[in-house]
């Protein structure tokens, strides 16, 4: 059984109605429990939980410290290519967006790798658009060995692939794959992804299954906040997480909460999520799931990120560039989205330390495989 058969048992509208009908009593019950389930998660992300945010934050901080300690893991994205055959209404790399396309060569990758290594990074996230002719399996098979010897841990945020493809990449050092559903609202998904392979909703939906079957160490989930009602989309993310943890029990999971950011020629968010609401969502995830990793990128503002260090987040990026070649090769090229927190890795590490937390650069060894 794959996730799609679980997903089909739920209707978007029913879930949304259930979330918005949660009461203060439901929230209080959820807060009292030791083990919280999906119903509790609904209560915690509902409008009814807003007055309980301080209490949620306290519990979230305590649970996160207990499970992860006073540490924040650091990673940085390495954009390998902005070539893309998909049209995504919200993305700077969309096929119909006129910008200079670029895929890094081996030599250019090494230039970027050196710049990133100098920042102190051991964990790197490889990012591309979806262009199977130029940045398909063959390209990844070629560049992975180049990159691997410079880093302890390699993650990928690229197009969804087949199980067999993942099985070939994992022995080359692929530790983790991030694959965001963008939205679990199927009709809206089709509107935002009218062209390209990404328009296949079900194939994307079952990507984590294929990763789990391939035996990957970690899978990253999330939705693009701003496309649809964030509460309903987050419920489906939690449902997905719950299913995956039960099914692929040897794999770790992480959640990201990207809020739609402006980019050149881009779409304005349909739904605006307030800072307060994002804190609520992060705390709700932690109360629902004590061991899921929660990641906050440089899309968020300095002040917001500073305060979130202690509230449930386990992973952060810093000093990120979202354009291929952005670190050394071609720093002036167009970005996928605008960075909000532009501070350097060293500055972020110092900020984390000031709060009595330890920035962790390395938490994996290539000898473990993946």
């Amino acid at each position: 059984m794959r996730f799609e058969s679980v997903f089909r048992q739920y209707s978007w509208n029913d879930v949304k109605a259930a979330i918005y009908s949660k009461t203060a009593k439901d929230v209080e019950m959820a807060l009292e429990k030791k083990q919280r389930g999906l119903e509790d998660f609904m209560a915690l992300i509902s409008p009814a939980a807003a007055p309980y945010l301080e209490r949620m934050a306290l519990i979230s901080r305590q649970l996160t410290q207990q499970r992860f300690g006073k540490t924040i893991q650091l990673y940085v994205p390495l954009y390998l290519s902005n070539e893309c055959q998909n049209i995504c209404t919200y993305c700077g790399f969309s096929y119909d967006n006129p910008l200079k396309r670029k895929t890094l060569s081996g030599a250019e990758i090494l230039q970027e790798v050196n710049a990133i290594r100098e920042m102190g990074y051991e964990h790197v996230l490889l990012v591309t658009g979806e262009a199977s002719q130029t940045v398909g399996l063959e390209y990844f098979m070629k560049v992975m060995p180049l990159i691997r010897r410079h880093f302890s841990q390699i993650s990928m945020e690229v197009q969804p692939m087949d199980q067999e493809d993942y099985e070939q990449l994992i022995p080359l050092g692929l530790h983790s794959v991030l694959v965001y559903q963008e939205t679990y609202h199927e009709e809206d998904y089709r509107k935002h992804h009218p062209k390209g392979k990404k328009s296949r909703f079900s194939y994307r939906l079952e990507t984590p299954d294929r990763l789990g079957l391939a035996g990957i160490h970690k899978i990253g989930l999330g939705v693009l906040i701003g496309l649809e009602d964030w509460r309903t989309d987050s419920f489906f993310t939690a449902l997905h997480l719950d299913y995956l943890q039960r099914t692929y029990w040897q794999t770790r999971y992480s959640i990201s909460f990207p809020r739609l950011r402006p980019f050149s020629g881009g779409l304005a968010p349909k739904v605006d999520m307030k800072d307060r609401e994002l804190v609520q969502l992060i705390c709700a995830y932690r109360l629902f799931n004590e061991d899921v990793e929660l990641s906050l990128s440089t899309r968020e503002s300095e002040k917001f990120r500073d305060h979130l260090v202690q509230l449930g987040i386990t992973t952060m990026s810093a000093g990120s560039k979202t354009n291929p070649g952005g670190y050394a090769v071609d720093p002036q090229s167009l970005e996928q989205f605008e960075i909000s927190d532009e501070r350097s890795a060293a500055t972020i590490a110092a900020m984390i330390r000031e709060q009595g937390y330890e920035p962790v650069w390395k938490d994996w060894s290539p000898v473990f495989g993946g």
Binding site: Q65, Q66, R67, F68, G69, K70, T71, S152, Q245, W249, Q250, T251, R252, D291, R353, G356, Y357, E358, V360, K362, D363, W364, S365, V367, F368, G369
Partner: protein, 257 residues
Amino acid sequence: MEPLIIAGQPFTSRLFTGTGKFGSAAQMEAAILASGSELVTVALKRIDTAHSLQDDMLQHLQHPHIHLLPNTSGVRTAKEAVYAAQLAREALETNWIKLEIHPDPKYLLPDPVETLEAAASLVKLGFVVLPYVHADPVLCKRLEDAGVAAVMPLGSPIGSNKGLRTLDFLEIIISQSRVPVIVDAGIGAPSHAAQAMEMGAAAVLVNTAIAVARQPEKMADAFRQAVIAGREAYEAGLGTASVKANASSPLLAFLDE
């Protein structure tokens, strides 16, 4: 307090500590020093094995009384564990290894099948093996037969601070073990540590409860004292608990009449 001897190495402290979850390397160092611990476990995955001399964490553990116990946290199979142990031996110049194989990232519960297989291989390769296991008395005997230097059964799920939930099985393991029994996970309060020591555990390993405390250094000292108190009580010979006072010989008093 009698010294503890593992694989010929004497330890005056029976409190072993970890290095994870601390807010800074300096805080970790201060806590470990306050704990009096002489055996400190370090996750191989956190160390820069290529440049171990410059590694920040290791630099804070450079004290003559502290022995490092690298652990294999992160591996999922016996094969990976053996490989990791060999790397740790090279990087840290010790043949001691804390064998941890927990393929389940949610509760970090140890895999008994892979652990036994890896332990047997590592012993053959000349390692001093300290395996982290469930409080499973039969598994502990099997590991002992395979030649491990100690066994490290859990008190409750790692990091849970729940104390000795496996009490009945720990008692069996301690009662029949020929190697030191180190209660490894779930110890959340000094009273839990004292309880384990009173039962006759050879040592306890504490990490989360110290690292996550508001004042790790102070908590480390509290654990130090609790472990000493528990051990001394064990050595002194604890009386059996009783609900009410026993008369000296109520049933046989007639014999003296």
